[in-house]
């Protein structure tokens, strides 16, 4: 199957059936071994399922990389109150396009993961919060879910085991901040998607005031495979601290953009040169954002040293985030692209915290001034000062996400800023 592009370097576990529309049908999914993991998990105690996931070392794929099994173990053991599992399918980090693909090619894989996750945390209801823009994706998922209900894989008395787990697909309405876990909970409850102050943490007080756990689509999609094959099997891929495979969303100036499932720890340079067919038109590489727009930008030299696991990215001063690799060649206008990202954050700031609401808007204004050739060198200092005050001073990390591209680009591509400033000064003098 020629799903956009494939590479023989890939280890396809979650993305095995990308490009195969038959996989959406329940019959095909079951024929290919689907829902076996659910059957196995429901025959086990909840804590045993959590232990398998703990053994696997699986880390959350939404960006933070928190160990999934550990997160699940925070949930209360008694079920006197309702527990909720929330699946975060509000994919909207610029550069990320894996969850939409996971859902629309293999919806049952996610549903199975959700059901197993719910069992593990003693939840009887799962809400899959899909991004509002995903009309077709949501429709594919909801239809698959109807089939799962009809065949007894979801709902009451699943597969005759006595377990009841309901799954609801919930569509958002266009707000990046609803991808933040507590923002998502507020949005699900019919409120503005404003992140909540923690503590209390979701495992104590989450959706509808009840103990809740929230996991990314990709995390939950890995669960059936881990339950089937065991934690040791999963750990054979990836690195010691970042086990398993990860979908890398490569976009921008490469010959073969797309989703590639690779073991964590894969070298970034090899991903670009080999897996993605190199930089387009034989151009030189200028910069890469390895984890979606919220992480620091790195230059070509840092790219050559960077391995794609949670630790490897930190070593070169950036983060893996959700592994959304945005590649920029020598023709890319760094100042324009950073300004575009800042515009995005200014638009998406929920407005609760002053440093973020004011900081993102003013950063965007200063960036635009520089881009238009009306900036001064003092503006660069001001940008650094403003963004420094946006780090760690707000309820959620959207504010920090503004600082990352601005600070790193000024540090590493100061020449480009200065060129725009100098050009403006010349025009002004003439």
């Amino acid at each position: 199957m020629a799903y956009p592009y494939v590479s023989d370097k890939e280890v396809r576990i979650l993305s095995t059936y990308f490009g195969d529309p038959k996989q959406r049908h329940l019959d095909t999914y079951v024929e290919r071994g689907g829902y076996k993991a659910l059957e196995k998990a429901l025959g086990m105690g909840a804590d045993d399922v959590v232990n398998i996931v703990k053994d696997s070392g699986l880390r959350g794929r939404g960006g933070a990389g928190f160990p999934t099994g550990l997160k699940w173990s925070f949930m209360p053991k008694d079920s006197s109150r309702p527990h909720y599992l929330l699946c975060n399918a509000d994919e909207s980090e610029p550069g990320t396009f894996k969850d939409r693909e996971l859902i629309r090619w293999d919806p049952h894989q996610l549903i199975e993961g959700c059901l197993i996750g719910a069992h593990a945390i003693r939840a009887q209801h799962v809400y899959i919060y899909c991004r509002g823009e995903f009309f077709e994706t949501t429709q594919v998922l909801a239809r698959a879910l109807e089939d799962a209900y009809a065949k007894g894989y979801a709902g009451e008395n699943i597969l005759g085991t006595g377990h009841t787990i309901d799954v609801t697909v919930h569509a958002g309405a266009g707000a990046y901040i609803c991808g933040e876990e507590t923002g998502l909970m507020n949005s699900l409850e019919g409120k503005r998607g404003e992140p909540r102050v923690k503590p209390p943490f979701p495992a104590a007080v989450g959706a509808f005031g009840m103990p809740s756990t929230i996991n990314n689509v990709e995390t939950l999609c890995a669960i059936p495979h881990i339950v089937t094959n065991g934690g040791e099997w999963y750990k054979q891929y990836g690195t010691e601290k970042s086990p398993g495979t990860k979908l890398f969303c490569v976009s921008g100036h490469v010959n073969k953009p797309g989703n590639y499932e690779l073991p964590l720890g894969f070298p970034l340079q090899e991903l670009i040169d080999d897996v993605c067919g190199g930089v387009r038109d034989g151009n030189a590489l200028k910069a890469v954002i390895p984890g979606g727009s919220s992480v620091p930008i790195i230059n070509a030299e840092e790219v050559s040293r960077c391995t794609l696991d949670y630790e490897g990215c930190v070593e070169v001063g950036t983060m893996l985030g959700c592994a959304s690799v945005i590649v920029m060649d020598e023709t890319a206008d760094i100042v324009k692209q950073v300004r575009r990202m800042v515009d995005f954050y200014a638009h998406e700031s929920c407005g609760q915290c002053t440093p973020c609401r004011e900081g993102s808007a003013w950063t965007a204004k200063i960036m635009r001034r520089i881009e238009n050739g009306e900036g001064t060198e003092e503006d660069l200092d001001m940008l650094m000062e403003v963004t420094q005050k946006m780090v760690g001073t707000t309820i959620c990390v959207l504010s920090d996400s503004v600082a990352a591209p601005v600070q790193s680009s000024i540090e590493k591509f100061r020449d480009e800023y200065l060129a725009l400033i100098r050009r403006g000064e010349r025009v002004g003098a003439a």
């Binding site: 990320t96 949501t138 309901d166 309405a173 707000a175 503005r192």
Partner: protein
């Protein structure tokens, strides 16, 4: 689908090395058809669409829409949680969410009108004023931008003869910029009503517009 007038018909399927038909990729048996029945919690019957034919005077709610509204209520522990889906339903029917629609939704869910307004205005997908039959949202965020999204946006504005954010004279098109649509590997990504168009280039824009006009009710 046969007789495709241009390279991209709204799915990541038929460019370059792709060899799947639209039916295979989009799976016609999975989308577009919204039965009013369905299991307790799953909800395909209540998933909103953006319809080309908008009826700003429609009653909130009656008939099939009333059934869908009632189904939405069963899926949450309280009425307030039904607010977003209910607003989406109102928009699907009327094309936008007017202050009057907000008040009606507030009444249905036993919330205060001010509260509903506060929530509605928080979310970008609720159109606060009427839009054209085709709401064209061009992603101009980083990945698409690197690959020429600005030119695609300009082409849409040029060939529909509209200003950004305004509706064309014949009411056919409203063109707006969108934030990342999660189609970064297939730039430029454009959402037109409920559909995604991917790998869009400026030269294809006139063909897409003609196609939409000929389709009428997409």
């Amino acid at each position: 689908m046969s007789d495709v007038p241009f390279k991209n018909l709204g799915w990541a399927g038929n460019t370059g090395e792709f060899d799947l038909s639209e039916d295979e990729v989009r799976g016609d048996d999975f989308v577009g058809d919204r039965p009013a029945h369905g299991g307790h919690a799953s909800g395909s019957a209540t998933m909103p669409y953006m319809l080309a034919e908008k009826n700003p005077e429609a009653t909130l709610f009656e008939g099939e829409y009333q059934e869908r509204f009632e189904k939405i209520l069963t899926r949450y522990p309280d009425k307030q949680a039904a607010l977003l889906p209910t607003l989406s339903l109102a928009q699907e029917l009327r094309g936008y969410v007017s202050p009057e629609s907000m008040d009606r939704v507030a009444e249905l869910l036993e919330l205060s009108p001010a509260y509903v307004r506060g929530v509605t205005t928080f979310y970008t997908m609720y159109n606060k004023r009427p839009v054209g039959r085709h709401l064209v949202q061009v992603c101009t965020n980083i990945s698409c931008n690197l690959c020429g999204a600005d030119e695609v946006l300009d082409a849409f504005l040029k060939y529909t003869d509209t200003e950004l954010g305004e509706t064309s004279e014949d009411g056919g098109f409203t063109i707006i910029e969108a934030e990342c649509l999660a189609g970064c590997g297939f730039p430029t990504c454009v959402q037109i009503n409920s559909r995604y168009f991917e790998n869009v280039t400026p030269t294809e824009v006139p063909k897409i517009i003609e196609h939409l006009k000929s389709e009428g009710d997409s």
